[in-house]
């Protein structure tokens, strides 16, 4: 009897997650950071501008309106992206039904052809619109794709090391992420290559509270190998606008919702 009690206590001790600061486990930190970065409010709308600087210092710009709706908190989401600039992609719409546990469904609407195209799900680590941001930076990397360990804790940040579960599917060996203790927003991420060198850095340059939700309004990705970088600025950010599920259907690809998109 005594022996089994000891075993139970021992099990309990082992199974209870090792607490980080403020009594949070690593998984709890990761999950809260994921919610803070990608699931603010039940839905959100914003105008985004990207400034892409290539290795030779040439600058290109992108401008789009992005609408997001959470189907499940921390799970499935819908995204609708309407392009304003540059001219050759103006009026094009890109729509994603995101599934963290499987392939996303993606559509593209080409207005000049009135064509609703279904796009094959692809590598989520491809460039978003020719910028240094990747699809995963914009819509989030599945938290189940990596194993996470707390490597450092300061007064302000938790620093987590993230190892990919499937190293063959990504170009990094691991990445460090700095999570703000007050907002749970990741404010910096550094990606390491196989030579143990940081080759890519994503940073939040400005965080503002919008409708009571801490929001990254300006961020930057640097490609440290080539020196190229992209800066993204969000304006006209609004949360909980009552964006309905039907916005994310073929109807609104052909007829962009005027209520949310000003052209």
């Amino acid at each position: 009897m005594k022996k089994s009690l000891v075993i139970i206590l021992l099990y309990a001790f082992i199974l209870v997650p090792v607490p980080g600061a403020w009594g949070l486990s690593v998984d709890e930190i990761v999950s809260k950071a994921n919610l803070a970065s990608y699931y603010g409010g039940d839905d959100g709308a914003a105008r985004a501008r990207m400034q892409i600087t290539d290795r030779q210092g040439r600058i290109r710009e992108r401008e789009f309106t992005i609408l997001r709706k959470d189907v499940e908190e921390g799970g499935r989401q819908y995204y609708y992206v309407y392009f304003h600039k540059p001219g050759d992609v103006r009026k094009t719409v890109f729509m994603v039904h995101k599934r963290p546990d499987g392939d996303d469904d993606r559509w593209l609407y080409l207005p000049a052809l009135d064509l609703v195209k279904r796009i094959a799900a692809s590598d989520k680590r491809t460039s978003f619109m020719g910028s240094h941001f990747l699809y995963e930076d914009v819509s989030g990397r599945s938290i189940a794709a990596d194993t996470h360990t707390l490597t450092e804790e300061t007064g302000e940040y938790w620093v987590l090391d993230n190892l990919p579960r499937d190293p063959g599917s990504v170009e990094f060996t691991h990445y460090l992420i700095w999570i703000d203790k007050k907002t749970f927003l990741p404010v910096k991420a550094e990606y390491y290559n196989s030579r143990g060198k940081v080759y890519r850095r994503v940073e939040a340059l400005e965080v503002r509270e919008i409708d009571g939700i801490p929001t990254v309004t300006r961020s930057k990705v640097q490609d440290l190998d080539t020196g190229g970088n992209t800066e993204m600025t969000f304006t006209r950010i609004k949360y909980n606008q009552g964006i309905s599920n039907e916005i994310f259907t073929e109807r609104y690809l052909r007829n962009p919702p005027r209520k949310f998109i000003s052209r």
Binding site: P86, L113, L115, V116, I119, A120, A121, R251, R258
Partner: protein, 407 residues
């Protein structure tokens, strides 16, 4: 030729500079295109198939109740020595009730699942533009139409009414040579342009198309119907010596969805050639079945491969415009983006194992800046015989270059 190029480049730069400085209250582009045959054609005097400057104006106006869209090309066509206005879109889009969208006016219409292969999309097309190297968007020709789309809980209904028949821009001999079955030889610009008899402008001759669509599990499913005329002159009146557009009714269905890590699609259509009822008239197109199966998936970072198999089966043979009773195509598409997505390499090919012909569309496009895109490409036709579908265009194989300034 060199002087023309320099002149064109200079004027393009000049207009671009003005446009850039003026901050115009509309969007659009300015484009210069030049394309030429790479083989001799006995039926044509010159080799230039494409030589034009295009200025597109694009204006949208949104209000609470709806949107107005106007988009038109002002075109200086050096090949035909004419200037013309091509109104691509001029429509009003309204939402009269929460589950109804209404689009009235000149518009581009597209549906169906094929990639450059059309079964249930009977809306006007411009095949000549496609073959001579204009941008892909010009394959679709606008129509003046009313489109009403009703959205239900699980089923939606699209209905299109085109009051006055709008034919395809087919291969009429204006620039491209073709096989003339009447004379049993090739014909081209030297033989004049085919001008078919159009259906009378009556309500009975208006064109109607419908699509019932919705999701079946994870698949996008649709049923289609069309009642109107063939967009191409597939009828020949040997007494009048004139081509016409026979009456057509079609029924079809399609499916599209995620499959094996890619996108799979299937579509079928039944073409009822209404003027050909009864005995087989070889001068009027025969009824036919069409079937398409396609699959596309990513094959690397920013690279996609698509394959389609397409079969067209005429119920009777001989038939107008056919060298075989069946037309079997295998199409292949490759698209790759490189250099921060500024360089696009693409390939599209049609290959027919039974007609023994092929059509290849390689293309390279580079974005010099956000405003300027240059495109180089080719339209290459191959065939064992001169009367097969693609083989007849063998002497029209061409290369082209385009430069576009968007604003």
């Amino acid at each position: 030729m060199k002087r023309i190029l320099i002149l064109a480049a200079a004027s393009l730069l000049g207009v671009a500079a003005v446009v850039h400085a003026a901050e115009l209250p509309f969007n659009g582009f300015l484009e210069y295109s030049l394309g030429s045959r790479i083989v001799d054609d006995d039926t044509a005097s010159g080799g230039i198939l494409l030589h034009e400057t295009r200025f597109q104006v694009d204006i949208i106006h949104d209000a609470d109740s709806g949107s107005l869209q106007f988009r038109a090309d002002f075109l200086l066509d050096t090949v035909t020595a004419e200037s013309l206005t091509d109104v691509r879109e001029a429509y009003i889009l309204l939402t009269p009730s929460s589950n109804l969208d209404l689009k009235v006016g000149r518009q581009i219409l597209t549906w169906g699942t094929g990639d450059f292969v059309f079964l249930n999309d009977l809306f006007p097309k411009d095949w000549q533009s496609f073959f001579i190297g204009r941008d892909d968007e010009y394959l679709k020709k606008p129509a003046s139409a009313v489109r009403a789309t009703w959205f239900g809980d699980s089923l939606n209904l699209d209905f299109v009414w085109i009051p006055v028949f709008e034919p395809d821009s087919f291969i009429s001999g204006e620039r491209i040579s073709y096989w003339d079955f009447r004379q049993n030889r090739k014909a081209g610009p030297a033989d004049g342009i085919i001008e078919p008899v159009r259906p009378d402008k009556t309500v009975a001759n208006s064109q109607a198309a419908a699509r019932l669509f919705g999701n079946v599990g994870n698949w996008e499913a649709a049923i289609y119907g069309f009642d109107g005329n063939y967009g191409q002159p597939k009828g020949y009146d040997s007494v009048l010596g004139k081509f016409d557009y026979p009456r057509l009714q079609t029924w079809g269905a399609s499916l599209r969805g995620s499959l094996l890590g890619g996108i799979g699609n299937a579509e079928t259509a039944w073409y009822r050639s209404l003027d050909d009822s009864g005995s087989n008239d070889p001068n009027i197109v025969n009824p036919e079945y069409r079937v398409l199966v396609g699959f596309s998936r990513s094959v690397g970072r920013d690279q996609t491969l698509g394959v389609q198999t397409y079969l067209e089966h005429a119920l009777e043979f001989p038939d107008i415009g056919r060298s075989e009773q069946d037309r079997l195509w295998i199409t292949l598409r490759y698209t790759g983006l490189f250099m921060q997505q500024n360089l696009t390499l693409s390939w599209f090919s049609f290959y027919s194992p039974n007609e023994k012909d092929a059509y290849v569309r390689p293309k390279v496009s580079y974005k010099v800046s956000d405003e300027v895109r240059t495109t180089f490409g080719a339209n290459l036709f191959f065939g064992e015989t001169e009367n097969s579908f693609f083989g007849q265009f063998k002497d029209n194989s061409n290369v082209y270059a385009r430069v576009r300034y968007s604003f």
